[in-house]
């Protein structure tokens, strides 16, 4: 069951050949996917790219590396191994065997969750399609394309579920996943944050650190699902997602490292004229991407998410490590709120309706790890400056703080003061122009742009100066 069948038109480990009808349906979707990849995928012409391709879902040796023309990448369908002893870990079905088919009463909710997850995957490819034109090195270009092809594979993962378990409606939704496009006026992607073009590489690293991480936490909740095929799909997607996190984490590492280096060498904070990105600008990009990503978790309380949990279709992050009854019917949680006086505070609600907040807090704690890491780079360079996560009320458009303005320190501000000072905390046109002015492509092996440090190690044991990408 674990080995992928690469003799098939669609590589898979789900015995697709045993279900001819499903196989034909997916094979008829495949050319539409390839058309979408051609028209909405990466714009930079390449001969081939040193890519990782999943070949197995077991613990050892799950991927193969090699130079592949991107259009010939073997996008496939892979589910993690089935655990015969698995039980649903939460909600009213806790302790029951997981469902191998979609329960009728949860069909609409499951389909909606799968469509939303599926919609984000091609969206990020569309957002990043022009970035190849300004890649700081072949190593980074390769990483961008690896993220892109795997987001494409994640689309395949969701489309498989829609085709295999949701009948005609599922097939129609799978088509729609290719018709909506990032930034389209008529048919935009579902999530607002997935409709802006990723304009530069600092934004790309911030996006992969903060926004892809949000996706990781959503996948983590779906991995707990009582619907076993969804759980197993998400489990394997999380394995691939780890590379996307690495691209973001080490990308910001390397920007901070280079900035610190230029600051120390020139004994100045003003590194813009020296071809680096000033720390305050990095902080502003961090502020923007973090606050926008916090909004993606939704409002502090949600009836739907409570219902999903009780039904057993969407759990908590690392559900099995929680030390409670996994039903939460009698538990409470403090969530962010405005006090009756209109100040930033908290209020207690049912733990079930507060699950968006629970997930957001897990995410925030994880994000703090990146900041700690980046500050260690500054510390090792002998610099006193530090980066930090802004306050949870800063720049929020969703939830309890959507109606107020707050500084990164959590100081509540009048609207006009916010208007006057927001340029201190969020990227201004000048900041963006400077960052974009640095975005010149470096396609020579072993060379890298001046605004970013080289990586400490290459991909799959290869050196930094390996020929990761052959351009056309």
């Amino acid at each position: 069951m674990t080995a992928a069948d690469y003799d098939e038109k669609i590589p898979n480990n789900v015995d697709l050949r045993e279900d001819r009808r499903l196989q034909r349906a997916l094979e008829s979707w495949q050319p539409n996917f390839l058309d979408w990849w051609e028209s909405m995928g990466p714009t930079l012409p390449t001969q081939d790219v040193y890519l990782r391709t999943a070949v197995n879902v077991g613990r050892e040796g799950w991927a193969h590396f090699g130079h592949v023309p991107m259009r010939d990448y073997r996008w496939g369908i892979f589910l993690a191994e089935r655990d015969a002893g698995r039980q649903i870990g939460f909600g009213q079905h806790k302790g029951e065997p997981p469902w191998q088919q979609v329960p009728g009463e949860y069909r609409a909710d499951l389909q909606r969750l799968i469509v939303i997850q599926g919609d984000t995957e091609p969206a990020s490819v569309e957002q990043q399609r022009n970035l190849g034109a300004t890649a700081p090195s072949l190593y980074d270009l390769r990483n961008l394309f690896q993220v892109n092809v795997e987001e494409g594979r994640h689309l395949w993962a969701m489309v498989y579920l829609l085709h295999a378990y949701f009948g005609r409606e599922g097939r129609e939704e799978a088509e729609e996943l290719l018709h909506r496009n990032s930034g389209s006026v008529d048919a935009p992607r579902i999530l607002g944050a997935f409709n802006e073009e990723t304009p530069d590489w600092l934004s790309f690293y911030m996006f992969t650190y903060f926004t892809d991480r949000d996706g990781k936490y959503q996948l983590g909740t779906l991995k707990e699902s009582g619907f076993d095929p969804l759980s197993r799909t998400c489990e394997f997607m999380l394995k691939e997602e780890a590379h996307h996190m690495m691209v973001g984490t080490t990308g910001v590492d390397r920007v901070v490292e280079r900035t610190a280096q230029v600051m120390v060498e020139n004994d100045t904070d003003d590194v813009a004229a020296l071809g680096a990105i000033p720390l305050p600008v990095i902080q502003k990009y961090l502020n923007f991407h973090y606050s926008v990503s916090l909004d993606l978790f939704g409002s502090e309380t949600s009836t739907n998410v409570a219902n999903y949990y009780t039904a057993g279709i969407k759990g908590r992050w690392l559900e099995d490590r929680r030390r409670d009854d996994h039903k939460l019917t009698d538990d409470g949680i403090m969530v962010e709120a405005l006090t009756p006086e209109g100040e930033i505070g908290q209020t207690e609600v049912s733990a079930l309706t507060g699950l968006n907040t629970d997930l957001r807090r897990e995410y925030i704690a994880d994000c703090a790890g990146g900041v700690k890491r980046w500050n260690r780079i500054l510390e090792q360079a002998g610099l006193a400056q530090r980066l930090k996560l802004p306050h949870i009320a800063f720049n929020r458009k969703v939830g309890a703080f959507s109606g107020i303005e707050a500084s990164p320190d959590g100081e509540q501000l009048a609207a006009e003061e916010w208007q006057r000072r927001q340029g201190q905390w969020l990227p201004t046109d000048t900041d963006k122009t400077h960052v974009r002015s640095l975005m010149r492509p470096v396609y020579e092996r072993g060379k890298i742009a001046a605004w970013i440090a080289p990586p400490r190690q290459g991909i799959n044991g290869q050196p930094f100066d390996y020929d990761y990408v052959h351009l056309s």
Partner: protein, 144 residues
């Protein structure tokens, strides 16, 4: 007629709501009411008329970029365009949150689901594959 749209920062299941909803309103919206005075999930707004009387409610449940809207017009106030007013305001709120789609689910308990579905499709909602009724958020709604 002038109506006023007010956000409830800490919505609770209070006497005002209980009076407006009643058993029919609960059935029509699928709302499971908490205990008297207990906090309500989701983001809530109330609509009042120029005399200060509550004439309706709208609420928005957002999670992972999606937003379900639900609303109720008080008995005796129906047929005056209040439903349209509330949906337009909820769309405006969704636009301000960067949300691109809103949807409504007609609950199985609704006394006349066919009428409700017709009303929603008549206001630009289309039935999606998962059975909910969905509408693209017009972002100019933020400025209307």
């Amino acid at each position: 007629m002038t109506w006023y749209w007010t956000k409830e920062d800490a919505p609770v299941w209070d006497a005002g709501k209980q009076a407006v909803f009643g058993p029919d309103g609960l059935a029509a919206t699928g709302l499971v009411p908490p205990a008297d005075g207990a906090p309500l999930a989701d983001e809530w707004w109330r609509v009042t008329d120029s005399g200060g009387a509550v004439v309706g409610y709208g609420w928005l449940d957002s999670e992972w970029g999606d937003a379900q809207i639900t609303f109720l017009v008080a008995p005796g106030r129906r047929g005056a365009g209040l439903g349209e007013f509330i949906v337009a305001r909820l769309e405006q709120e969704a636009a301000g949150r960067g949300l691109n789609y809103i949807y409504n689910v007609v609950p199985a308990t609704h006394p006349d689901p066919a009428w409700m579905t017709r009303w929603l499709t008549g206001h630009g909602f289309t039935v999606s594959g998962s059975g909910d009724l969905r509408r693209r958020v017009r972002h100019e709604a933020q400025h209307s």
